[in-house]
């Protein structure tokens, strides 16, 4: 399944990005720098979505003691950290031509930085214990507590509105022109599939690592 998902992901992502970067019209206010949106927005969306996914897994691990759920959290956390870093990096580069500064103490940027540190904290916590079952459980507890931070990220723009523009796409509609919205949506879908395939690969690695002495792994390999 992984190669198909990766193929769909990369193809869709390339369509979205090429459409967005080369074919979408120039923004009348931000000029061409706005083309970073086709990377920045999908990355920001998945930075949060991966954490939500991890919190669902954490709940499954805590309540039903599903071992695989803990494995998924451990596999998803580095991907979450990576995509949060991309969101932060693309945002700060976008900030240079738009705001005239690469970093601003804006609520949403700061919250995303906190999210990035949280991902690293989760990985560090898990890596600190040699008893992996204990590490899984503590990591799940931390993920569940950390999920409280997510609504704060989402609401932060409204609470401490500073430089950051409000969300362009929401459930109630969109403020973007369709010629820009379409490639953006395609990029979101493309990056989603790409990250899912990376997630499958990463969880495969972690499961093999963790279960390497089990009989089924020997047979599988």
């Amino acid at each position: 399944m992984y190669p198909y998902l990766l193929f769909i992901g990369i193809t869709t992502l390339m369509i979205g990005w090429i459409w967005g970067v080369l074919y979408a019209p120039e923004d009348f206010q931000q000029g061409n720098s706005y083309r970073i949106i086709f990377l920045h927005v999908p990355a920001s969306i998945f930075a949060q979505t991966i954490y939500y996914f991890m919190s669902i897994c954490a709940l499954m691990h805590i309540v039903w003691r599903v071992k695989l759920a803990a494995y998924l959290i451990k596999s998803a956390a580095p991907i979450g950290a990576m995509i949060t870093f991309i969101a932060l990096f693309s945002g700060s580069i976008w900030g240079i031509p738009t705001w005239g500064t690469w970093w601003q103490w804006d609520a949403r940027i700061t919250s995303t930085l906190i999210l990035f540190i949280m991902y690293l904290g989760i990985l560090t916590l898990h890596g600190s214990f040699s008893n992996l079952e204990k590490a899984d459980r503590l990591m799940s507890i931390l993920v569940i507590v950390g999920v409280v931070n997510l609504p704060i990220i989402k609401k932060s723009v409204d609470w401490w509105s500073t430089l950051h523009q409000p969300a362009s796409i929401s459930t109630s509609g969109s403020s973007i022109d369709p010629s820009m919205l379409m490639p953006l949506l395609i990029s979101i879908v493309g990056l989603g599939f790409t990250l899912i395939s990376l997630g499958i690969l990463s969880s495969r690695l972690y499961i093999l690592n963790r279960e390497k002495n089990k009989k089924w792994v020997l047979e599988h390999v």
């Binding site: 074919y23 019209p25 061409n32 970073i36 693309s90 690969l201 990463s202 690695l205 390497k212």
Partner: protein
Amino acid sequence: MFDIAFNTFDEIINMKGHGIYVWLVYSISILIIVVSFTITRMRIKNICKRININNASG
């Protein structure tokens, strides 16, 4: 909707002065994603090899 927004290759690269930001962001992000895939695949290959060696040695 499907007309290219630039007339020449130079315009695509330069993007009226914003090209440096746009291309920098995309290239580094693509690099990070590609490196993640490559490292993960390599590590899977290595662990499979190790498991096979252990399996063969008993």
